[in-house]
């Protein structure tokens, strides 16, 4: 106690001493809290006008963003800190500053949300304006002279910061946002080194938003980003603002959970630590984490993600910006499935003994047993099935291996018995995910994009909000987060549409940019060729396919599907499973194994002990998507790749390496030893899988399609996905996903 009072007394004495001796230096005992002292005596500042400093060189735009001019004649010129910048009409002052390369501090402004203008952090000085203006809400006018680093602007921001920090708790050391907090960063620039607030801080009761989002509402600065995100992007009016003044708080009005499949994104957009990740809470600090830029495989969208890992553990998954795929959002399944990567892992090769129990063995023994059995069965009884999480390289190796063994029965689960891989346009989202937001009429056939491909659903919702697009839906009763018209439940509605007798057909025909989206769940139907041909008839008669616009789409379900079809993983016979004597499952957990003959030898190669291991005779442990470099093609045909973030577990190996080793044991070595070699092999089969980060659109043609003679089964369409949160081996092993499906799913 004595020490602090002593030092402060000593400091006061020293200050008094200096003030008496150096009075001419304008140093007073009571120091202002504002770091712009010249504003305190404006008279002296005005008395000595400083000459204009030489203009600094122009800067590039923030984040090197490109400025898009919809109409070149609408460009206006404004001056930011003395520099002339050309911007399109309708830009705000803040956007103009960004073009000029000046980053304006902000809390409430978010480029993908509507403008609220309530945090006041983005205040700038505009010439001839009596007071500082909030740049995020002020449209830029021609010839406007904007000053961003003047003393007035700085003082205004310092005042705003002081008010924000008044009620913000000082718990940064235990806050999960600490280190990546906007408020923390900006208080370094505009915060004071002391507080003048002597009253008690306010406190707000925490809300329960479910198993994913943790709330510490006392930290909230009422920027309302989460409220705007929930109502605009997620489409669930869950969050709102309650009360006014110091009683203002974010809440759910009544006690309820946030039931959106995009709810995890509020964690990213929250500028402070009010909304943080519940599974990640207190697990790690963000500066300990190693970022790895990768791709999500839990659905066919291929969202761009960043895997943050610490040592051998994936600590969290956050989105990466890709305007063409997922913008800057990801679904909850993508974000929170990572704890499944740590549970139920296969880490040793195992052989089922004669007593029916598995025993861990060495790789050599396991491969020897498989090679021996493979040579005993007839080539046409060998069947290979790739799983829904398989990468293109391993599927290529599997197909080559099976072909070398003499079998042509190799396919990928989810593609149905007899997939059509001949025409690439027959299984891709031809419009492209980004272009879907330009469409004005949607016809969704047997697909519920909200659970099948959340990011595609966000685009459709964007189109509904922005262009007032009409959505027609054929399928079982489903939940949508935008206005839609439920046309029917089965193929009968399709037939009506094809005849042109249905009322929705005229809407489709008169649309400027119509889009038909067919769900890949229909691939499992017996009559899928007939359904696809009737959809094509509708597309043709409604003029959906034009030279500049291809509106006929297939929305795939799994990450591996598009690449599998690109590589031609099509079985020779559609009864391959029933006649199999040797079944090679490469991570295939969702195929029906009841029809496999009881004397068949089943090899399961995968990373999780999920469903198929219980039927397997030999288990080969493989690496998960976070542990390997693999190529994936998403539903629109965009090739992307995962990168290893963490080491493989136990004795597991990469999928293609296992198949390569097995081929050598079987005496028919595959001719590649590295990823580069295997990609060279892929180049000869599907060259589009080598142009990374690029989308290869499919050329459309119906001329060479064989005529379909099959009858249409009038049975209604079924939902492709029962449980959004648990669709594959990783998500089924995840505890968080299990919590979500028990708490958030509507029963």
């Amino acid at each position: 106690m004595g020490l602090s009072s002593l030092t402060s007394r000593a400091m006061i004495r020293r200050i008094l001493h200096t003030t008496t001796t150096t009075r001419s230096h304008n140093f007073s005992l009571i120091r202002s809290i504002v770091s712009t002292p010249e504003l305190n005596n404006t008279a002296s500042a005005a008395a000595e006008p400083t000459p204009d400093p030489p203009a600094p060189p122009p800067r590039p735009p923030v984040n090197n963003a490109r400025v898009h001019f919809p109409n070149p004649e609408d460009a206006i010129e404004v001056f930011v800190d003395g520099y002339a910048v050309k911007i399109p009409k309708g830009f705000t002052v803040l956007q103009a500053c960004e073009v000029a390369g000046v980053d304006i501090p902000r809390f409430c402004y978010h480029s993908r949300l509507s403008i609220a203008g309530n945090c006041r952090m983005c205040l700038v000085e505009v010439e001839k304006s009596p007071k500082p203006v909030a740049s995020c809400a002020m449209p830029a006018l021609p010839g406007m002279k904007i000053k961003t680093d003047t003393p007035i602007a700085k003082k205004a921001r310092e005042g705003v910061m002081e008010f924000l920090l008044m009620n913000h708790p000082l718990d940064c050391p235990i806050c999960d946002q600490g280190g990546e907090c906007d408020l923390q960063d900006q208080s370094m620039a505009f915060g004071s080194d002391r507080g003048r607030f002597t009253e008690t801080k306010r406190a707000v009761v925490d809300k329960n938003l479910g198993p994913l989002v943790k709330t510490v509402m006392t930290r909230c600065i009422q920027c309302t980003r989460c409220v705007r995100f929930a109502s605009e992007v997620a489409g669930t009016e869950d969050l709102g603002m309650l009360g006014r003044g110091s009683g203002e708080e974010i809440g759910t009005y009544v006690e309820k959970l946030m039931t959106s499949e995009l709810s995890g994104n509020v964690i990213d957009i929250c500028p402070v630590g009010a909304l943080t990740s519940k599974p990640f809470a207190f697990k790690a600090r963000n500066w300990e984490l190693k970022p790895t830029e990768s791709i999500d495989v839990t659905d066919a969208v291929g969202s761009n993600i960043r895997i943050d890992s610490r040592g051998p553990e994936v600590m969290r998954i956050i989105p990466r910006l890709n305007e063409d795929v997922n913008e800057e959002w990801i679904s909850d399944k993508t974000r929170f499935c990572y704890d499944g990567l740590k549970r139920q892992r296969l880490n040793d090769p195992m052989i089922r003994g004669s007593d029916g129990r598995f025993k861990a063995v060495s790789w050599r023994d396991a491969l020897d047993v498989i090679a021996e059995v493979m040579h005993k069965v007839k080539p046409e009884e060998i069947v290979g099935v790739a799983g829904k999480l398989s990468d293109a390289e391993s599927m290529m190796a599997l197909k080559d291996f099976m072909n070398k063994m003499g079998s042509n029965n190799v396919w990928c689960e989810g593609n149905g018995g007899q997939p059509q891989a001949d025409l690439r346009s027959g299984y891709l989202l031809n419009t492209g995910i980004a272009d879907l937001e330009n469409a004005d009429v949607f016809l969704l056939i047997g697909t519920q994009p909200r659970v099948e491909a959340t990011m595609v659903n966000a685009r459709i919702r964007k189109a509904v909000r922005a262009n007032h697009a009409k959505v027609g839906y054929i399928g079982p009763a489903a939940e949508f987060n935008y206005d839609h018209e439920h046309l029917g439940t089965g193929p009968q509605t399709l037939q009506e549409l094809a005849k042109g007798s249905h009322s929705f057909f005229s809407a489709l025909k008169n649309a400027k940019k119509p889009a038909i989206v067919v769900g890949a769940g229909l691939f499992e139907r017996e009559d899928k060729d007939a359904i696809l041909s009737i959809v094509e008839t509708i597309a043709k008669s409604a003029n959906v396919i034009r030279p500049d616009w291809n509106g006929l789409n297939v929305l795939l379900l799994n990450a591996a599907q598009a690449a599998a079809l690109d590589l031609g993983l099509v079985p020779e016979s559609d009864k391959s499973i029933e006649s199999a004597k040797f079944l090679y499952l490469m991570g295939a957990d969702d195929i029906n194994l009841d029809k496999v003959p009881s004397d068949a030898f089943v090899v399961y190669q995968g990373h999780h002990g999920d469903q198929s291991v219980y039927r397997a005779n030999v288990i080969l442990p493989a690496s998960a998507f976070s542990e390997k470099e693999g190529t994936y093609a998403n539903t629109e045909g965009r090739t992307q790749q995962t990168l290893p973030a963490v080491p493989t577990v136990g004795d597991a190996r990469d999928d293609w390496k296992i198949i390569r080793a097995l081929s050598e044991t079987a005496g028919i070595s595959l001719p590649y030893d590295s990823l580069i070699d295997i990609r060279e092999r892929m180049r000869t089969v599907a060259p589009n899988l080598l142009s990374m980060e690029e989308r290869e659109p499919a050329t459309y043609s119906t001329l060479i399609k064989p005529e379909v003679k099959k009858e249409i089964d009038p049975a209604p369409f079924k939902a492709a996905i029962e449980n959004f949160y648990m669709t594959d081996a990783i998500t089924r092993a995840s505890k968080i996903m299990a919590q979500c499906s028990s708490q958030l799913l509507k029963k």
Binding site: G609, V613, G650
Partner: protein
């Protein structure tokens, strides 16, 4: 004096001459006992080490310890509460300092076992020789239970 001689004979008779001489050697041919003459036993710690003080000898040599173990002793056998007293850091004896010991979390003193064998010496939590070695596996493997 006579009693000393009588006790000596009694001890020789009980233990035998060989054992008596071995003990005699281990105790330093009475050197310690002679050194302890005139000194006051200030305290005995939980391990049986005796702490002596003799204010009549030269200052700085007036405190010493007689280890409980006569053949295997080293300075690390002195527990921390007596260390300060023994090294003239404080005049509070170990018994007095022990009264301040927080029983909630303070762990017992352990002497330095270096060179005494792998099973005795300290191993860090991740060391292979530590019987309670921490499991650094960050995943849970699938257990082949029912088929």
């Amino acid at each position: 004096m006579a009693s000393i001689v009588r006790n000596t004979f009694k001890a020789i008779k009980e233990k035998g001459l060989g054992n008596f001489l071995r003990e005699f050697r281990e105790e330093g041919y009475l050197q310690t006992k002679i050194h302890n003459l005139g000194a006051k036993v200030v305290g005995v710690d939980q391990y049986g080490n005796k702490y002596y003080e003799n204010m009549n000898v030269q200052y700085g040599r007036h405190r010493w310890v007689e280890y409980a173990s006569k053949n295997r002793y080293n300075a690390s056998q002195v527990p921390p509460e007596w260390h300060g007293w023994l090294h003239y850091i404080t005049d509070h004896t170990g018994d007095e300092i022990l009264m301040l010991k927080p029983s909630r979390y303070a762990i017992d003193h352990k002497e330095n076992f270096t060179g005494e064998g792998d099973e005795k010496i300290y191993h860090s939590k991740g060391h292979t020789l530590n019987p309670g070695q921490r499991d650094w596996t960050r995943y849970q493997s699938w257990q082949p239970g029912k088929s």
